[in-house]
């Protein structure tokens, strides 16, 4: 009997017993559905973190010189934490010394951040905004473009012009139905003139990137961000990975010298980059992927057990049919193939249904929860292979029982 005949036979069998077949493949369907959904979510988060977060928030080929990491995996011992707190602050002088030492092809920017509550003539109060006092190259490094108006120039930064570039949401909140350009926004009583509105940025980890106020570092804004108590960080971007690394080495040398560190002493500062921030994520991702495989695997095992039982019942129900087929010349392997293909086809159907439902679940999660999700193509392939594989494994025992039946006894059965 050819494979095609066996598949055709299996399809007929499934069609004849629709409801029974449906319940049979439920386990596999659910297993595959969760596999697809979990992998989609992990995949979505992974893209989100690695592309959106790492590149938007931290920048490409960029490191931030900081006192200690801002994005860590959370497993910081209190000892480490205390050590971090003893470290010297990063000062404006440090930032400038680093700039002096940078190689060609780099951008440099002071980035001092805090949370603040802007006030305008039209609106007092509202959600806190990210307030950043930065150097002019900040916009280049963060790849920030304005929707309206302009960003401030290096000259404006040098002289400390009281101007700000604001996020889209900030503009809408503080200047409802108005053109914010040229209007005044106050921070801790200090007036700033809006000269630009950023393009829509979206949000990262539920934090709106459209709620921010960016002004020149040398303006009064640095009083808002309390720069004298140390900078949030110094951003350095290389035009390529080697230049970034070279810049990091130069910055390290400068900082160690400035902090009078002996060769045996470790760094008392930190270079935060997308890689360092993502190291925590990578370990989380491993756990998620393992979870995403183990949980559906339980579903698949249950599915396999169900299929095995149903196939055993089918073999018992169809003993006479098996006898007839054997009498007419079916060899052991024909019977074996018939039941294996039937189990595999059934299970594959379950997998396909599960893939469809998994897609649906992934889409629903994306629509109704803040979790991102994106279906990974490989998970579809894996699901199909798993589906057919589960069927074959579950079918082996029932099929071999069917194949070993004595035709005389089988023909006599009712």
């Amino acid at each position: 009997m050819s494979l095609l005949d066996a598949i055709r036979l299996a399809l007929t069998q499934i069609r004849v017993q629709k409801l029974k077949s449906f319940f049979t493949l439920l386990g596999v369907t659910i297993g595959v559905m969760f596999l697809i959904a979990v992998v989609s979510i992990v995949n979505g988060m992974s893209r989100y973190v690695e592309v959106d977060f790492a590149q938007k928030f931290l920048g490409v080929n960029t490191f931030t010189l900081r006192r200690y990491p801002d994005f860590s995996n959370g497993n910081v011992t209190s000892e480490t934490w205390r050590e971090w707190q003893r470290r010297p602050q990063i000062t404006v002088e440090d930032a400038e010394a680093v700039r002096e030492a940078l190689p060609q092809g780099t951008h440099w920017a002071i980035n001092d951040m805090t949370w603040g509550s802007p006030v305008s003539q039209y609106r007092n109060g509202g959600p806190q905004s990210l307030v950043a006092a930065v150097s002019a190259d900040y916009f280049v490094i963060k790849n920030l473009a304005v929707d309206r108006g302009r960003v401030f120039t290096e000259q404006e930064e040098m002289v400390g012009a009281p101007v700000v570039v604001i996020g889209k949401e900030t503009a809408e909140t503080y200047f409802p139905n108005l053109d914010p350009l040229g209007r005044e926004l106050r921070l801790e009583g200090l007036p700033f003139r809006v000269i630009g509105v950023l393009e829509k940025q979206g949000s990262t980890f539920g934090m709106s990137m459209d709620r921010q106020v960016i002004g020149p570092f040398h303006s009064a804004l640095k009083r808002v961000t309390k720069s004298r108590r140390g900078l949030y960080g110094v951003l350095v971007q290389g035009s390529s990975v080697p230049i970034e690394q070279e810049a990091e080495e130069s910055a390290r040398e400068v900082m160690r010298r400035r902090h009078h560190l002996r060769p045996s002493q470790p760094d008392d500062f930190f270079f935060e980059s997308s890689e360092s921030a993502l190291s925590g994520w990578q370990s989380i991702k491993k756990v998620l992927v393992v979870g995403g495989v183990v949980l559906p695997a339980i579903g698949l095992v249950v599915g396999a057990i169900v299929i095995m039982n149903i196939m055993l019942v089918a073999v018992a129900d169809r003993t006479r049919e098996i006898g007839i087929r054997k009498a007419l010349g079916a060899k052991r392997r024909d019977i074996l193939a018939q039941f294996l293909v039937e189990a595999a086809t059934l299970s594959l159907f379950g997998a396909i249904l599960g893939i469809a439902l998994g897609f649906g679940l992934a889409a629903a999660i994306k629509a109704w929860t803040p979790l991102p999700s994106s279906v990974a193509l490989w998970s579809i392939g894996v699901s199909c292979v798993l589906g057919a594989g589960v069927g074959i494994i579950a079918g082996i025992y029932p099929a071999s029982r069917a194949a070993r039946l004595d035709p005389i006894l089988a023909l006599r059965s009712e």
């Binding site: 009997m1 005949d5 007839i324 060899k331």
Partner: protein, 266 residues
């Protein structure tokens, strides 16, 4: 040297061996079935049951033989052996020039597929398949391509006058029609023997006659037919009647003598 049907039926083992050959020898082309002292024992929980105690049977091509016997005579066992569903405990069984008594399962399956056409008392059609698909089944296991399968199955159904019932399922057919579908299925692979087990056991007398006419025609067209039955009326349609008793052949005679002895007993 060849014996007539009558002479064959009357011959002794020694005489038969003279024409069909001694144990171990390949029978000549004429012989479709040659059994040499086949026995079949069953182990029933430590007790050995001797279902067949040395059966010597030789059937020539194009014969129409009925095997009769009361229940427990071993006729079902003999039928299973002739049909290659089982192998003998001892003895030789040559089918169409091939020694099948020592074959393994899958080889037997192949022989059943090519050389034997079964017709059962309970028809044994697949209930969910159409008549055409039922008839195609042996060809599926013979590895015949689907288009040819269909054509040959149609042809076989035409032979039993069921061309117009091809797409019907067994439960949409009468008993006689079902048995004709089974006959078409038995013939579709052009087997060496048509082996019928109580083919009229589930049919009324009119339909039984109809099936007997089909067998008669098949026999006349050159098909070897072996029919196992316990009904003398049905057996007397065959041209030769073999009677089994206690696992041995008790009589093997042409129809005329069988009918005559039936009449004498009655």
């Amino acid at each position: 040297m060849s014996l007539t049907e009558q002479e064959l039926a009357l011959s002794t083992t020694a005489e038969r061996q003279a024409v069909t050959g001694l144990p171990g020898a390949v029978p000549s082309q004429d012989w479709v079935i040659v059994t040499r002292g086949i026995t079949r024992n069953y182990d029933m929980g430590g007790e050995v049951v001797h279902a067949l105690r040395g059966v010597e049977l030789a059937v020539r091509r194009n014969e129409y033989v009925a095997i009769m016997g009361p229940s427990g005579s071993g006729k079902s066992t003999l039928m299973n052996l002739i049909g290659c569903l089982d192998t003998p405990t001892a003895g030789e069984y040559w089918l169409n020039g091939v020694l099948v008594s020592r074959m393994a399962d899958d080889e037997l399956a192949r022989i059943r597929n090519r050389e034997i056409g079964f017709v059962f008392q309970t028809f044994n059609l697949l209930p969910r398949a159409s008549a055409l698909h039922n008839v195609e089944l042996p060809l599926v296991y013979a590895g015949v391509a689907s288009a040819e399968r269909r054509a040959r199955a149609k042809e076989a159904l035409e032979r039993v006058q069921l061309a117009d019932r091809m797409d019907h399922r067994p439960n949409e057919l009468s008993g006689g029609q079902r048995q004709r579908v089974a006959i078409a299925r038995a013939l579709v692979n052009r087997p060496a023997i048509l082996l019928a087990d109580e083919p009229t056991g589930n049919l009324d007398s009119t339909t039984s006659e109809e099936i007997m006419r089909v067998f008669e025609e098949l026999s006349r067209s050159g098909q070897t037919v072996i029919m196992v039955t316990h009904e003398p009326d049905i057996a007397s349609h065959a041209r030769r009647v073999v009677v089994l008793r206690d696992g041995r052949i008790s009589s093997d005679e042409p129809r005329e003598r069988f009918v005559a002895s039936l009449a004498a007993r009655a």
